[in-house]
C-alpha cells in the first residue's frame, strides 16, 4: 500500500525545501553580468567635469567599480572599509556616483574622505541600469580584460573583503 505513504513523502521533500528556504535571502538577486564584459560608458568625472572616464581606460588593470551615493545610508557603513582599502593601495577603486547631486557628493567625500582614484557622476541613473544596479552600494570586481568577475550587493564589509574580494583580486592580478 505504497500509495498511501506518498503524501507523507511529498510533504517531507517540501519541508526540506522550506528549511533550506529559511536560510536564503529572497531579495538578493545575483547579477547575470558576472563573466561578461563590463558595459561601456563615458561619463564626466565628478571633480573635474571637463574630463571623462570610460572603463576602457582601465584595460590591463584589475579594478573595483563601487556604486555609491551621498543619500545612501549603508554607504556610510562601508565607507571606512573602502578608505582602509585605498590606503593599502592593493587595487584601484573607482566610484560611480549614482543619482546624486554634485554638491552633496563632493561634501560627502570631503567629510568622510575620498577612497576613489576618481568618481564619475551618473546623474540620471542610466549607467546604473546598464550595470544592473538595484540597490546602492554595489561593488564590481573587473579584471584586466574588462570582464566583471564578481559583484558585491550591499556594503563591502571587512569580512567580504578578506574572504572574497581580495583573494579574487590577487588571483586576477597574477594572471
Amino acid at each position: 500500500m505504497m500509495r498511501f505513504i506518498l503524501p507523507f513523502v511529498v510533504f517531507v521533500v517540501l519541508a526540506v525545501f522550506l528549511a533550506i528556504g529559511l536560510n536564503l535571502n529572497p531579495r538578493e538577486v545575483p547579477s547575470p553580468l558576472v563573466g561578461k564584459p563590463a558595459p561601456a560608458f563615458t561619463l564626466p568625472q565628478l571633480h573635474e567635469s571637463t574630463k571623462q572616464f570610460s572603463p576602457s581606460d582601465m584595460k590591463g588593470q584589475v579594478w573595483l567599480l563601487n556604486v555609491w551615493a551621498s543619500w545612501c545610508v549603508s554607504c556610510k557603513e562601508e565607507h571606512p572599509v573602502l578608505m582602509e582599502l585605498s590606503r593599502r593601495n592593493i587595487v584601484p577603486i573607482y566610484g560611480l556616483d549614482y543619482k546624486d547631486k554634485q554638491a552633496d557628493a563632493e561634501l560627502w567625500l570631503k567629510k568622510g574622505g575620498d577612497p576613489y582614484v576618481l568618481s564619475v557622476a551618473d546623474t540620471e541613473g542610466r549607467i546604473g541600469i546598464d550595470y544592473g544596479v538595484y540597490g546602492v552600494p554595489e561593488t564590481y570586481v573587473i579584471d584586466k580584460q574588462g570582464v566583471i568577475q564578481y559583484k558585491q550587493i550591499g556594503p563591502v564589509t571587512p569580512q567580504s573583503l578578506t574572504e572574497k574580494i581580495l583573494p579574487l583580486v590577487a588571483e586576477l592580478q597574477a594572471k
Partner: protein
C-alpha cells in the same frame, strides 16, 4: 497591570490547551468517560481565557498603553478608535492572538453543537483542536508575545500602517482567519476518525456543515481582501497572485474540493480515504500559508516583518502537525473500505473529476508560488513567477471544470446515461453558446476571450435553470414542488450561480475596461466611455490623523450630472506615508473610478488624474457573496438541524457524559 493579566490569561490558556490536547484523547483510547468528559469544559475555559487575553490587548490599544511594545509599534494617539481596535490584528503578534482566539471560538462551537455525536468522537475532535492551540500559543509565548513591555514606555506610538486604516481591513482579517482556522474542524474530524478507525458516511455528515461554514468565511474573507485592494491601492486591480493571496487561495480551492468530496462520501460512502486526505490538506495549506507569510521565505507585499526564529518555530510545528497526520493517514487509510458502487460515468465520477481539477489548480498555484524558493534552494538562480504565469496555467484548468460544473447537478447518482444527459442539456448549452457569441456585440467589440468567458458563465446559468425547471415544472402544485427541494439543493445552485456571476464580472472587466491617465487643469473635462469627467480642483481637508488633498470631479452623461466624486490623496501625520483614496461610483453595470496621481509642478492647481471605467466589476464580489449565501443555505438544511432538535429532546445524554 492589564497587559500582565493578558499575558497570564495566555499562559492559563496554554495550560488548558495542553490538558485539552492530552486527557480527552487518552480517555477516548482507554474508553474512560471521565477523561473524555473534561473536553467540553476545557474548551469553554480556553475560550474564556483567550477571550480575556484578546480583550486585554484591545484595552491596551484603546487606552494608548505605549508601554506595550506591540501597541507602540502599531498605534498612535491620533489613530481613530475603530482603527485602534483593528490595529489589534494589524501586526504579527496580535494577528496570532486573533488566530488563537478564533481557534478557541471554533473549539467552543464544536463543543456546543456536538451533543448528537458519540462521546469519544467529540473527545478526539476537541483534543486535536487543543493540540493545534498548544502549537500556536507556544509560538506566541516563546517568539511573539503581544504583551511584551517596552520600558521606558514610548511617548507615542509609531502608528498603524495607513494601508490598514480602512473599514475593509477591519473585518477582512477576522473573516479570513475564521476560514483558515475553520478548516481545523474538518481536519480534527478527519484525524479523530482516523484515530478511532470510524470513517464512514456518518463521519462525512458530521464534518460537512463545519467545512461549509469555514468555506463561507474564507470566501467572504478573500472577497473582502480583493475588494479592499481594488479601492485602496488606487489603480483598480483586484487580484495580484501575490504569495499571500495565493496562501489563502490554495486552502480555498482544496476546501472547495473537500466540500464536494464530502458530498460523495456522505451520500455514497465512497472515496473516503481521498476525502480524509483533502481534509488534512486543506488545513495543512492554511498552516503553510501562515508559515509563508511570517517566515520571510517569499517576498510579498503583505509579509509581516520576518524573523528566522519564528520561521524555524512554525516550520517545526508544521512538520509535527502535518507529518504526524500524514503518517496516521498512511497507516490507517489502507483499511478504509471502498463504499458504494457507481459507474465510471455518474454524478460521483463527475464530482471526483471536479476534485481532480480543483486539486491540480491548487497544485499549480502552489508550484507557481513556491517555485522561486525551489530554484533558489537548488542553486538554479533567482526567478519570479507572477500574474502572466498564473493566468496562463490557471485559466485553462478552470475551463473543463466549469463545463463539468454544469453537468454535475444534472447527472444522476450511480450511473449516467450519456446520450440521455446530452439530449437533456443540448438546448441549455446551445442557448449559452448563442448568448456568448452575440452578447459581446452589444458592447461594441467582439473578442474571443470575452465570448469564452461568457460561454462558461451562461452555461452555468442555463444548466442551473434546466435543473430548476426539471425539478419544479410539472402539473401538480408548484409551491409544493418548490418546498419539496432541500435547502442544500438551492444552496448548491445559488453557489454555482455565484461562480457564473463572478466569471461575468472578471470577463467583462478584463475585456472592456478603459483607463485614462490625464493631466487636468481646474475646469478641464475628459470625455471617455460616453461620460464627461470635469475636474473642479483640489482642496485641502484635515482628517483625524492625516491631511488630504480632496479632488472634486463631476461626472455627467448626455449633459446630465451622474455623480460627484471626491478622490483623495492623503498624507498621514505620523508615518508621513502618502495614500491614495480612490473615489468610486459603483453600479450594477460598472464602476466609475477616479484616483488622484500627483499635483503637476509649476501649474495652476493641475493634477495627474487617473480615470477608469470598469464594467461589471462589482459582479466579481457579488459572485463571491452569492457563493457564500449558497453555503449558508446549504448548512441551514433540515438534515443538519434535525440533530439539534434531537439534542433538545434528549438532555439525558448530556448528563451521562
Amino acid at each position: 497591570m492589564i497587559p500582565e493579566i493578558g499575558n497570564f490569561a495566555l499562559i492559563v490558556g496554554l495550560f488548558l490547551a495542553i490538558t485539552l490536547g492530552v486527557l480527552p484523547i487518552v480517555g477516548a483510547a482507554r474508553n474512560n468517560a471521565v477523561l473524555m468528559g473534561v473536553a467540553r469544559p476545557l474548551a469553554a475555559g480556553q475560550f474564556v481565557f483567550l477571550g480575556v487575553a484578546l480583550l486585554c490587548l484591545t484595552y491596551a490599544f484603546v487606552a494608548n498603553d505605549f508601554s506595550v511594545l506591540y501597541v507602540a509599534q502599531h498605534s498612535n494617539t491620533q489613530l481613530p478608535t475603530i482603527y485602534r481596535i483593528s490595529a489589534v490584528w494589524g501586526g504579527h503578534e496580535g494577528s496570532l492572538l486573533l488566530w488563537a482566539f478564533l481557534l478557541s471560538v471554533w473549539t467552543l462551537a464544536v463543543a456546543l453543537y456536538s451533543k448528537h455525536l458519540p462521546e469519544e468522537m467529540v473527545a478526539r475532535v476537541l483534543g486535536v483542536m487543543g493540540l493545534i492551540a498548544v502549537g500556536f500559543l507556544l509560538f506566541m509565548l516563546l517568539t511573539s508575545n503581544p504583551f511584551d513591555r517596552l520600558l521606558p514606555a514610548a511617548a507615542d506610538g509609531r502608528d498603524l500602517n495607513p494601508l490598514l486604516q480602512d473599514p475593509g481591513l477591519v473585518i477582512h482579517p477576522p473573516m479570513l482567519y475564521m476560514g483558515y482556522v475553520g478548516f481545523s474542524v474538518a481536519f480534527a474530524f478527519a484525524i479523530a476518525a482516523l484515530l478511532g478507525g470510524r470513517l464512514d458516511a456518518t463521519w462525512a455528515r458530521w464534518s460537512r456543515p463545519w467545512t461549509t461554514v469555514a468555506w463561507v468565511f474564507m470566501t467572504l474573507g478573500i472577497a473582502l481582501g480583493s475588494w479592499w485592494a481594488y479601492y485602496e491601492l488606487g489603480w483598480g486591480g483586484w487580484w495580484f497572485w501575490d504569495p499571500v493571496e495565493n496562501a489563502s487561495f490554495m486552502p480555498w480551492l482544496i476546501g472547495t474540493a473537500l466540500m464536494h468530496s464530502l458530498a460523495v462520501t456522505e451520500k455514497r460512502n465512497a472515496f473516503k480515504s481521498w476525502t480524509v486526505l483533502l481534509a488534512i490538506t486543506a488545513f495543512s495549506l492554511s498552516l503553510l500559508g501562515t508559515f509563508l507569510v511570517r517566515s520571510g521565505v517569499l517576498t510579498s507585499v503583505h509579509s509581516f516583518a520576518s524573523d528566522p526564529k519564528r520561521g524555524i518555530f512554525i516550520l517545526t510545528f508544521l512538520v509535527i502537525v502535518i507529518g504526524v497526520s500524514l503518517l496516521l493517514f498512511a497507516w490507517r487509510a489502507p483499511k478504509i473500505g471502498l463504499g458504494g458502487k457507481f459507474d465510471p460515468l455518474s454524478r460521483e465520477s463527475l464530482l471526483l473529476s471536479n476534485n481532480v481539477l480543483l486539486s491540480v489548480a491548487a497544485a499549480s498555484v502552489f508550484i507557481g508560488t513556491l517555485y522561486p524558493l525551489f530554484m533558489d534552494a537548488l542553486g538554479q538562480g533567482k526567478l519570479s513567477v507572477g500574474p502572466p504565469y498564473f493566468e496562463a496555467v490557471f485559466v485553462p484548468l478552470m475551463i473543463p471544470m466549469i463545463l463539468m460544473m454544469g453537468l454535475g447537478p444534472l447527472a444522476r447518482w450511480k450511473k449516467v446515461d450519456a446520450p440521455e444527459l446530452a439530449k437533456r442539456v443540448r438546448w441549455a448549452f446551445g442557448a449559452a453558446l448563442v448568448i456568448a457569441l452575440l452578447l459581446p456585440l452589444t458592447m461594441g467589440e467582439w473578442n474571443v476571450m470575452v465570448s469564452l468567458g461568457l460561454l462558461l458563465a451562461f452555461w452555468i446559468i442555463t444548466s442551473v435553470s434546466l435543473s430548476l425547471y426539471e425539478r419544479l415544472a410539472g402539473r401538480d402544485d408548484f409551491m409544493q414542488r418548490l418546498h419539496g427541494q432541500s435547502l442544500s439543493y438551492y444552496g448548491m445552485q445559488l453557489a454555482h450561480l455565484g461562480v457564473a456571476v463572478f466569471i461575468i464580472g472578471v470577463t467583462m472587466v478584463k475585456g472592456y475596461e478603459t483607463e485614462r491617465d490625464v493631466r487636468m487643469d481646474v475646469g478641464d473635462v475628459l470625455n471617455t466611455g460616453g461620460y464627461e469627467f470635469r475636474f473642479n480642483g483640489v482642496t485641502e481637508e484635515q482628517g483625524p490623523n492625516y491631511v488630504a488633498g480632496r479632488g472634486h470631479v463631476t461626472i455627467s452623461k448626455d449633459g446630465k450630472v451622474v455623480t460627484e466624486l471626491y478622490p483623495e490623496k492623503r498624507q498621514y501625520n505620523v508615518s508621513g506615508m502618502p495614500m491614495t483614496e480612490a473615489a468610486i461610483d459603483a453600479g450594477v453595470l460598472g464602476d466609475l473610478y477616479v484616483s488622484l496621481g500627483e499635483p503637476i509642478p509649476d501649474s495652476n492647481g493641475a493634477w495627474a488624474v487617473r480615470v477608469y471605467i470598469k464594467p461589471f466589476v462589482d459582479w466579481i464580489w457579488a459572485g463571491c457573496l452569492l457563493m457564500s449565501l449558497g453555503g449558508v443555505l446549504a448548512i441551514s438544511d433540515r438534515r443538519y438541524r434535525i440533530h439539534n432538535k434531537r439534542k433538545a429532546a434528549a438532555p439525558l445524554e448530556e448528563k451521562t457524559a
